[in-house]
């Protein structure tokens, strides 16, 4: 027992004497846990929002009757009620506001099943107020609506998801301009006896089961997988730090271990003690990391929410909730990570002979055999990655390919660097440069983990920034084409629309109707657009594939265009056909790019749209006008028709909003990128610090033979810069492959669009410099430590005991 206590005290006293190392260890683990748990917190928050959205109005519990073609007449509802079916109507739609999309639910509180009761209407006044036009919404949304002049009584309800409004179905029909229409019917779970089949009454309706996952949840899977991948990468990089800190502590405590073993502490007990120590660190650092992760998530969440809103129309709370599962998960991953990082050291202690040399092994010469094994493993992984890429499809296999490829590349790095340094050494002139190359090569085993971390961070950075940059270029070009009209205006009623048309005709170059219909396209909720035959489209609309005379086919109604998303998802190409509402099996004559829209979309000629969907409201118009007159026209419209500001928008504003959404989309990615890179820099620093202490015996003879400490220190810094630069060079092709996979595989699966790859060499140079700078900064501290060693410290190397 005494031995045990002595052992514990001795083991722990080490950390008291080396607070810097303790901070490194805890810091690394904290950072790793923070990044991972931060990403997890964001994901959990978003998923909770989706689940909340899915459970809105009991959709996660109740069956529904829908018309696959979209909203249907409430007469169908009445017919079912009059036949005895206990169903309740819901009209669901979206409103577009400057702040983004708002999801509107119109319900009939009188017939709604209990599972669909989202707001408390237990007071008679509340029910009455709802029927009188009261609107329920989450507090943040109400604040925005109030300030934007939304003219209905608003009441806050915490039960509603963000950007969701609940109101009486009568109000919703007005607000969404869908009079007499319902989106679906909620089916009560118990029904009266002896009812006629639904099919006899409303053959157009079909029954859908309770939604345990919303459409949004599956749409955004890719985004969250993306975040998770980044979180995992950061976590792995963070573990490199922990690994080197624990490794260093192990080396430094060798003498202590020997003494303890000699005192009668068994290897088993020692490993147990050190495991307990690791567990303690994991819990402390894990907890700190969770707090930091919460902070990271809180900072990033608004951008993530904006991204999800902009990209998928998914509403996510901008504020973070603490979930117990998240805490447990975070601590678990911290313990797991610390365990993984400590495993090697523990294994070595387990196998340590009692009287092992008490001196740290100065260095392990890179064994060619080990390098060969490693390159075989790396090439194997790369081969598997290629196979997965060729054979698999879908998001998961895309990420598997990325993961395998990155690990393979990382494993290959020391081999490649070894080769490069060997070649470099061959051209070395003079003993110092000769020694420099050789010695740099010999440092590889000790630094390779940190360099792998740097490689991963750099490759991810190049890959993601290339992807984002390519996207930005394509997107801005596409916006310029797509948003050809100068002003877009939406009337509030059909009558107003007609008046608008008459008023506008003589005042603008063209009034181009944009009429749309919500519809299920290939089973997904989507939209059908009616567009006019006009040069605006013929000249500007970006087509990816087309048949000859495509615009004539559109104009005469013998063909339709589909967006790229629909084309990829369903494998539809010009020459195929698609089933549209009203049983129209429409021939596809072209595919257009439609970035930023998660939903399938179809464009049809205005005449055909008019004939086939005469019921649709005709409220939206694009106006062609001299851009200089756009502002004047808009203010005229406002004074003439009293149109609220949010019903009109000019081209420049749309572009600005679109680009804003775009930039916010990648803020998170950018932030994680920077964090990963800094983690890699810290990993290099800790590795170098670890090595610096062990390197004295390697440097002392060189010093003794006539190199000053200052020169040696500079060489050390140069060495780090060289390794950083070489790693950056290796990272470049890896990053470009990563970018290609992101653009050509992940994006297509995740978003449904494929983007051309653009190269940004200036960014690479910048990143290369950044990598070198990171290495230099990391090397500066140990180098300074070396240059200020007293000669005594160096001389002590040469005598028997240190």
């Amino acid at each position: 027992m005494t031995v045990f206590l002595t052992a514990i005290t001795a083991l722990l006293s080490f950390w008291r004497k080396h607070p810097g190392q303790l901070i490194t260890l805890l810091g690394g683990l904290t950072l790793a846990t923070a990044l991972w748990s931060g990403v997890q917190a964001i994901n959990a928050e978003a998923r909770a929002s989706y689940a909340e959205a899915a459970s809105a109005l009991g959709q996660d519990e109740l069956e529904r009757l829908i018309d696959p073609n979209g909203p249907f007449s409430q007469d169908v509802y009445i017919a079912l009620r009059r036949a005895g079916w206990a169903v309740s109507p819901v009209l669901e739609g979206t409103l577009t506001r400057d702040s983004g999309l708002i999801r509107v639910f119109g319900i009939d509180p009188i017939t709604a099943p209990p599972a669909a009761q989202t707001v408390d209407l237990s007071a008679a006044e509340d029910l009455r107020a709802l029927l009188d036009g009261r609107v329920y919404g989450p507090p943040e949304l109400l604040a925005t609506l109030q300030s934007s002049g939304f003219e209905r009584p608003l009441v806050a309800s915490a039960n509603l998801g963000s950007n969701t409004l609940l109101m009486d179905i009568g109000e919703a029909q007005q607000l969404l301009d869908q009079r007499g229409l319902v989106s679906y019917l909620l089916l009560w779970r118990t029904q009266n006896t002896g009812l006629p089949p639904v099919n006899d009454i409303a053959p157009e309706l079909s029954l859908v089961g309770p939604e345990t996952r919303s459409d949004v949840a599956s749409l955004t899977d890719s985004f969250h997988l993306n975040l998770t991948a980044f979180g995992l990468l950061s976590f792995a990089v963070g573990l490199f730090i922990v690994h080197s800190a624990i490794g260093l502590a192990f080396e430094q405590r060798r003498a202590l271990f020997r003494t303890l073993r000699a005192l009668g502490v068994s290897a088993r007990a020692l490993v147990l003690l050190l495991s307990a120590e690791t567990l303690l660190f994991a819990i402390v650092a894990g907890s700190l990391g969770m707090v930091a992760g919460y902070g990271i998530a809180a900072v990033l969440l608004p951008d993530v929410a904006a991204t999800l809103q902009g990209l998928y129309g998914a509403t996510v709370e901008g504020t973070l909730t603490l979930r117990p599962a998240w805490w447990v998960g975070g601590l678990f991953i911290a313990v797991l990570g610390a365990g993984a990082a400590a495993a090697q050291s523990l294994w070595r202690i387990w196998h340590l002979p009692v009287l092992a040399p008490a001196q740290p092994r100065a260095w392990a010469r890179a064994s060619e055999a080990a390098l060969q094994r490693q390159s075989a493993l790396a090439l194997g992984l790369l081969a598997i990655a290629v196979c997965v890429g060729l054979l698999g499809n879908g998001l998961a296999s895309g990420f598997a390919m990325l993961g395998l490829g990155l690990i393979g590349a990382a494993l290959l790095l020391p081999v490649v660097l070894y080769g490069l340094l060997t070649v470099g050494g061959r051209y070395a002139k003079g003993p110092v440069s000769n020694w420099f190359w050789a010695d740099t090569r010999q440092q590889l085993p000790g630094l390779s983990l940190a360099l792998m971390a740097l490689l991963l961070a750099l490759a991810a950075n190049i890959g993601v920034s290339t992807m984002v940059g390519s996207f930005r270029l394509t997107f801005t070009g596409w916006l310029d084409q797509r948003l050809a009209s100068e002003v877009y205006v939406t009337a509030r009623s059909d009558a107003e629309a007609e008046a608008l048309r008459d008023w506008l005709e003589p005042r603008v170059d063209a009034v181009l109707p944009i009429w749309s219909l919500n519809a299920r396209l290939a089973g997904q909720p989507g939209e059908v657009y009616g567009v006019a035959d006009h040069a605006t489209y013929r000249d500007n609309w970006p087509l990816l594939a087309e048949v000859p005379g495509v615009w004539d086919r559109i104009a005469d109604g013998t063909g339709v265009l589909i967006n790229e998303q629909l084309s990829y998802r369903e494998g539809l190409l010009p020459g195929d056909s698609i089933l549209l509402p009203g049983n129209w099996d429409a021939p596809i004559v072209g595919v257009y790019s439609d970035y930023g829209n998660p939903q399938p979309q179809v464009m049809v000629g205005l005449a055909a749209f008019d004939t086939r969907y005469p019921e649709t409201s005709r409220l939206r118009y694009a106006l062609r006008i001299d851009p200089g007159r756009a502002d004047a026209l808009m203010s005229d419209l406002q004074s003439e028709f009293g149109l609220p500001a949010d019903t009109m928008i000019d081209q420049a504003s749309i572009k600005e909003i679109s680009l804003q959404i775009f930039e916010r989309t990648f803020t998170v990615t950018g932030a994680l990128n920077v964090l990963t890179l800094s983690v890699a820099a810290i990993a290099i620093l800790t590795s170098l610090l670890t090595l610096a202490r062990m390197r004295l015996p390697q440097l002392a003879p060189v010093w003794a033979l006539g190199l000053t400490r200052a020169r040696l220190a500079w060489l050390e810094v140069l060495r780090a810069a060289l390794l950083g630069a070489l790693t950056a060079i290796v990272a470049l092709p890896v990053g470009l492959v990563l970018a290609w996979v992101l653009l050509a595989v992940i994006n297509v699966d995740a978003f449904g669009w494929r983007l051309p790859m653009h190269l940004f060499p200036t960014d690479w140079i910048l990143l290369g410099l950044l990598a070198i700078a990171a290495a230099l900064i990391a090397a500066a501290w140990p180098a300074r430590w070396l240059s200020t060693r007293a000669p005594n410290d160096l001389l002590r190397i040469f005598s028997n005991e240190r």
Binding site: A362, W363, R365, G430, P431, V432, N434, W435, A438, D439, R441, Q442, P697, Q698, A700, P701, V702, W703, A704, L705, G706, L707, T708, R709, A710, P791, N792, L795, I797, F798, S799, N800
Partner: protein, 219 residues
């Protein structure tokens, strides 16, 4: 070239207050002369040797090697002097682990710009290291490592070789062989030799021996 140490003083701090390790040592080693420096453990032999090689600074006293006044030099100049004029053999960790035997032997000579390939291969031959040129230090035995160190110290034809118990880590037989080869090689090159040792037998074989005790030389 003569090494002349005059009134060297050195004090080390310790937990029981400052310890005067060297209290005014005078020692001269003439060109080509071999001198053994003996003394009790902790008597300051190694410190004196380090000071003589410019590896460590004395608190007071004069160190003159040929015409060079070490006490007036900065770190870089002392390093240059060490590189050009002095060969050093330590008890252990003499070698640069990342380069092979041949490169280790020629390292200082190259550094000093005095590399002579034929001379080096001659040394390798005489040291019995033939065939081991491409090996790395960790692949050698302790005796072999010290021979490489000796070769390295002599390869640049230094004016003086300083050796600090070069066989302290070796068994007696090996030690004997290593000292034998060092002694004869130093003699061949005409360099002076100042060697710290605790072996009376070895001391007796050099031109003379001085004894360091209580911080002073007693002849």
């Amino acid at each position: 070239m003569t090494l002349r140490l005059t009134d060297i003083r050195k004090t080390f701090p310790s937990s029981e207050g400052p310890v005067d390790v060297l209290r005014g040592v005078d020692l001269t080693v003439a060109a080509g002369e071999s001198v053994a420096l003996t003394g009790e453990s902790g008597s300051g032999k190694s410190t004196l040797l380090h000071i003589a090689g410019g590896l460590e600074l004395a608190d007071a006293g004069q160190i003159v090697l040929g015409n060079a006044q070490l006490t007036d030099m900065n770190d870089a100049a002392r390093a240059a002097l060490r590189r050009d004029q002095i060969g050093i053999v330590f008890q252990q960790f003499n070698l640069i682990p990342s380069i092979n035997v041949a490169d280790n032997i020629s390292f200082q000579a190259r550094l000093a710009g005095q590399h002579d390939a034929a001379f080096c291969s001659g040394l390798i031959d005489k040291l019995g290291l033939t065939g081991l040129e491409a090996r790395f230090p960790e692949q050698l035995s302790g005796g072999q490592q010290q021979r490489v160190a000796i070769g390295r110290a002599l390869a640049g034809r230094p004016q003086i070789v300083l050796a600090d118990e070069p066989t302290g880590n070796l068994d007696e037989d090996t030690s004997e062989a290593v000292l034998e080869v060092m002694h004869s090689l130093v003699a061949d090159t005409g360099a002076a030799l100042l060697m710290v040792t605790h072996s009376e037998r070895l001391a007796a074989r050099l031109d003379r021996a001085v004894h360091l005790s209580h911080g002073l030389i007693s002849a």
